[in-house]
């Protein structure tokens, strides 16, 4: 890497670190690019040579965090044991636990999904396909293991789970709920959806 390139990368990282801190403590709306630049000890101009807007910075902060989350998840998923509903519960609980380490940042990320100044490069909440894939894989394995009815429309189950997962965040936004509270709610949603995809057995037919 050239000196110039590595300098640029260092600036980028400093800006992202400062922004992550400020978005979490002051909130996204209350934070200005000028403050981010000042905390990162770079000029406002150099922030804008790397990022197109404050939303773009948020998007990059979240992209980095999500990379870390999914790296963690990729390590953990092969070790999950138990029934498919239990595995799903673990996967969502890991998400809630990770995301509530910085709740305000995460809520800003959700709100930004509806932002008018969205740049094409941003990866807003809800249009991240990785969790969908993880959930789908878990269900497919369930079909193989025999605790998910092969007749189930997996895409629809994934959709319903994703909707529950996303909107359970309202508890964090409006009631300051912690990860454990949200996971408990989600556990019940999963149980209920699972009651619909259990394979028919002679006992419960």
């Amino acid at each position: 890497m050239s000196v110039r390139k590595s300098q640029k990368e260092a600036t980028r990282q400093r800006v992202l670190d400062a922004a992550r801190e400020l978005f979490e403590t002051k909130g996204f709306d209350a934070t200005t690019v000028r403050e981010i630049a000042s905390m990162a000890a770079v000029s406002v101009g150099s922030v804008f040579t790397t990022f197109s807007s404050k939303s773009d910075i948020l998007s990059q902060v979240m992209a980095d965090r999500l990379d870390a989350l999914y790296a963690e998840l990729d390590r953990l998923v092969p070790h999950l044991r138990g029934s498919t509903p239990d595995r799903l519960r673990s996967i969502f609980a890991i998400h809630y636990a990770f995301e509530t380490r910085r709740t305000r940042l995460f809520l800003a990320h959700i709100a930004a999904a509806y932002n008018w100044t969205l740049t094409p490069s941003s990866r807003p909440y809800g249009r991240n396909q990785r969790l969908r894939l993880v959930i789908r894989d878990c269900l497919t394995e369930g079909v193989t293991r025999g605790d998910v009815d092969p007749a189930t429309d997996l895409e629809i189950v994934v959709d319903a789970l994703m909707a529950s997962y996303a909107w359970t965040y309202r508890l964090a936004a409006w009631e300051d709920a912690d990860a454990e509270t949200m996971s408990k709610v989600m556990d019940r949603h999963i149980g209920l959806i699972a009651s619909g995809f259990r394979p028919p057995t002679p006992a419960n037919q």
């Binding site: 809520l107 008018w116 429309d153 209920l192 009651s195 995809f197």
Partner: protein
Amino acid sequence: MKHVSSNIEVTGEAQVRVPTRRALAKQQTRAKVLAAARRLFSESGYEGATIRDIAAEAGMSTGAVFANFTDKSDLFREIMVADMEALVDAMRDGVARGRGVDDTLLKLFVAGYAFYKSRLPLARAAFGISWMPEQGQELRDLAPVQILQELFTEQLNLGVERGELSQEAEVKLRSQMLFDCYLANFQEAIFGGWSLEALQAKSKDQIRVILAGARRG
């Protein structure tokens, strides 16, 4: 608590009953500001629209706007209340035409998507706001928003009464999950440009999945 009067909030209606010329002019001004605000929120989003822009769009001074509304959130709230009340009516119409719990629930979903088809930018602004701590809470607490959610619960309860769903159908939880799906699908409408037919097909499947465990027998 019989002694607590239930008609404390009569100020708004009193104005309607006695339409002095002054009151009429005030109403017209309010309507003009609201229409301008609706246009601008749809064009530039909630953050992007300023009171100054809204006043200019309505052809009046910012002072005149503030004489009628306390702030921008007040304007947005008024628009939401009007829309949500109309939406509740549209959903009730849909329910009246439904047969059976699946179909009636689907009518609720579709009434919502049909209502917002022509005003998706406003829905987008509302979703953005709904995640803000204070304003989100305010939106959720609006009376018509509460009724909206109750419509889902009502239909599930009727399904249990009619014997379409088991007695242990966990109505409250299922109602919440249906509402989550109803809201989540707006993402496809807003960002995916989905047609009403596509939204309807997806909702139908979601309803089936959520009710699957509650069938009798």
